[in-house]
């Protein structure tokens, strides 16, 4: 094993094992970026299943018009928790997990810059997850406002709302610490010779995502703190009875909320920018333009927030401004999509599971982007606001975008993490089941929205029944397919063909120079960069 090492990788491997705690204490006290990355990923997958079960409760209720299984209040709570858990508990921690595992390996660093803070930022997550899920069982139930927590409802709800607010505070602290760690690691711990513009694209996306998180998570923390003081300490930020304005919350929330969309999307872009070149066996097309596109998307994301609230009664001039600014985002996003396509142009393509998920991402994310452009038009949005069209749009972006990219990342790096190859046949099954059922679940929702079915309502008019039944069947199929994913991952950990240090022929980057599985300690001496090991 040691024989295949590049400089410095894993020298202290054997000696170090002697003093780490065994069993549960190993995981509680660990400061190792690989352990912490693993914990992030398992936490994320657990929350993904919890949030997924909630989604299936919603879809089961919507299988038929009328009320079958749950009360409307409980339906609202499921809507809220599904949104909060999927955004803050599943997708974000998944990409932080990838960052923890892979960024030090990609830039040739021995660990994250602040290893203990890294431990702390992970261990804040389980209490927050528990707070959110436990809030279902308190008097009055969980928050039923939707994940956007709009007042006046969020000022009026019971203690479940306070638990959600505290959970958001904790998740926010965890994200801020995590992103400070990632930014510092990328800025300070790169191997000598790795300039910023030679850095792998995943690091670039995370560097900018880190800045976005540091800029907007505190704003969300401020907004929910204002909610909390309105609820309990007599302030009137949003309480109209005391002279406050509920619309103000929407402005503050979406100042966080829109960059949040890119916080989720940018690392997904980063993963795809690794997977597509690896399986097209060509370097990424337009590296520099990719970097500028990421930066442009991040900057523009700060000035488009009110396109989420065209119908609050803003002046036409405001609506026009936000419409044009929003449409502007299509330009850098288009640059990225065209660059990925150009990377594949005349490449030697093979379609292993990571590539399938990356292509699924590319295809479906583009559809989600187009429906986003439709919604950005204020005249159209007035019709479609709060309909299922919006639900379909953001699930194309969040599930087929971020989640598919996360699957691509798992399959791509699983050999590096476990030292085993996953079962390619099962992986392909997982992709095709996910891809087909995803579209069965969410494509009909476009039609439902265009026909006027409102979101977040447990009942609907009879004429929506057929499409809702199709959607529910798709949702259950999609949900069950993810159990196959769990099986594949467990099987890969326990058995499977031995993976080479670089299991993918076309992969580039420092992470493939260390053996598989990656030793507990890597790059204690910084690697020596050659031209070939530059950016992916």
């Amino acid at each position: 094993m040691e024989a295949t090492h590049v400089h410095g990788a894993g020298h202290a491997h054997g000696g170090d094992h002697a003093h780490h705690p065994k069993g549960i204490m190993r995981w509680i006290t660990t400061t190792n970026h690989k352990d912490i990355g693993t914990m992030y990923l398992w936490f994320s997958f657990t929350m993904f299943l919890v949030g997924g079960v909630m989604a299936l409760i919603l879809r089961a209720e919507l299988f038929q018009p009328g009320l079958q299984f749950v009360e409307p209040e409980f339906f609202n709570q499921m809507i809220t928790l599904h949104g909060l858990i999927m955004v803050f508990g599943a997708i974000m921690p998944a990409f932080v997990g990838f960052a923890n595992w892979m960024i030090p390996l990609m830039i040739g660093a021995p660990d994250m810059a602040f290893a203990r803070m890294n431990n702390w930022s992970f261990w804040l997550l389980p209490p927050a997850g528990i707070l959110l899920t436990a809030s279902m069982f308190v008097p009055g139930g969980a928050a039923g406002t939707g994940w956007t927590l709009y007042p006046p409802l969020s000022i009026q709800m019971g203690i479940g709302m306070d638990m959600a607010i505290f959970a958001i505070h904790i998740l926010g602290m965890s994200s801020i610490m995590g992103s400070i760690n990632i930014v510092t690691t990328i800025l300070n711990l790169r191997a000598p010779g790795m300039t910023l513009m030679r850095m792998p694209m995943f690091c670039w996306t995370w560097l900018i995502t880190g800045y976005l998180l540091i800029a907007v998570m505190p704003v969300l923390a401020g907004a929910v703190t204002m909610l909390l003081t309105d609820r309990h300490f007599g302030t009137s930020f949003f309480n109209a009875a005391g002279g406050g304005d509920p619309v103000l919350f929407q402005h503050i929330f979406w100042f966080f909320g829109h960059p949040e969309v890119y916080i989720i999307a940018l690392p997904a872009f980063g993963v795809v920018s690794h997977v597509i070149p690896a399986f097209a066996r060509k370097p990424l097309f337009g590296y520099t333009s990719m970097v500028y596109a990421i930066a442009a998307i991040a900057l523009i994301s700060f000035i488009v927030w009110a396109h989420h609230m065209y119908v609050v009664g803003m002046p036409v001039a405001g609506q026009l401004y936000f419409m044009y600014a929003t449409i502007l985002i299509a330009v850098p996003t288009g640059v990225k999509v065209f660059n990925w396509v150009a990377t594949m142009w005349r490449g030697s393509l093979t379609f292993e599971t990571p590539m399938l998920f990356a292509l699924g991402f590319l295809f479906l994310f583009t559809i989600g982007g187009f429906t986003g452009l439709v919604l950005s038009n204020t005249a159209v949005d007035v019709q479609l606001q709060d309909t299922y069209y919006v639900v379909a749009h953001f699930h194309y972006v969040m599930v087929a975008g971020a989640l598919f990219s996360a699957f691509a990342a798992v399959y791509y790096w699983l050999p590096k993490w476990t030292g085993h190859m996953y079962d390619e046949t099962l992986g392909k099954w997982h992709f095709w089941l996910s891809f087909i059922f995803f579209n069965i679940a969410f494509f009909p929702q476009h039609f439902l929205g265009l026909a006027g079915m409102p979101r977040r309502i447990p009942d609907y008019a009879l004429q929506f029944t057929d499409f809702n039944q199709v959607s529910t069947i798709g949702a259950f199929g999609f949900g069950l397919s993810q159990l196959l994913f769990l099986y594949i991952v467990l099987k890969t950990i326990r058995s499977g063909e031995k993976a080479a240090a670089k299991p993918w022929e076309g992969a580039t980057g420092l992470e493939w120079t260390v053996p598989s599985p990656a030793p507990y300690h890597t790059f204690e001496e910084p690697p020596v960069l050659t031209e070939a090991k530059g950016h992916a």
């Binding site: 510092t184 300070n188 800029a215 505190p218 401020g222 304005d245 103000l248 002046p315």
Partner: protein, 188 residues
């Protein structure tokens, strides 16, 4: 090397924490910022009512002069319009006043009857509020400002540029509380 690196890391950490702290403050700063913004632009002022209702049918392309006239028919009052004439656009809501004063030391009741010149203007002259809608009883020596609110219908024929609104106050017989012998009826 390690010393320097951890000093570098700490510097980035402190900077990032400062940014995070500032952004938390920025969330709160948005409250007065939006307040000021709405105040300056006049958007969303919850404490004031919405814009007063405006008639969107105002025909600003034409102007009509409305002249006011006041006559008394045997009443011991003084009765005058508050303004001799106004310029109005058809469709526009107009407020004017008439002043009336009972010069006697007993209450008198009168009823005003409007007339228009030219006569066809009557069909296009919409009074929304007028003292002529009801009888007016003035106590001894009382003076009063009486409103007239009207709209000139935009269908007013184009060749009518001046309308004269004339009121004549008549005494309403049998409503006077004072002895009848005190009353004089010139011309009767």
């Amino acid at each position: 090397m390690n010393e320097k690196r951890s000093a570098d890391n700490r510097r980035v950490l402190v900077r990032m924490l400062v940014v995070a702290g500032l952004m938390f403050g920025f969330g709160y700063a948005m409250v007065p910022m939006y307040q000021k913004f709405c105040e300056v632009t006049g958007i969303n002022n919850l404490l004031n009512a919405d814009d007063p209702l405006r008639n969107t049918q105002v025909d600003t392309s034409r102007t009509v002069t409305v002249e006011f006239d006041a006559n008394l028919h045997g009443l011991p009052w003084s009765f005058k319009p508050g303004q001799s004439s106004v310029e109005v656009h058809p469709g526009e809501l107009v407020h004017v006043v008439y002043r009336v004063n009972n010069t006697r030391d007993y209450p008198v009741t009168g009823q005003a009857i409007p007339s228009y010149g030219p006569q066809l203007a009557a069909a296009h002259f919409r009074k929304l509020e007028c003292f002529c809608f009801s009888r007016q009883t003035l106590a001894a020596g009382e003076s009063r400002e009486m409103p007239v609110v009207f709209v000139i219908d935009p269908t007013l024929p184009k060749d009518v540029n001046t309308i004269t609104l004339s009121y004549t106050f008549f005494e309403v017989a049998g409503t006077v509380a004072e002895p009848a012998q005190k009353m004089t009826r010139p011309g009767a």
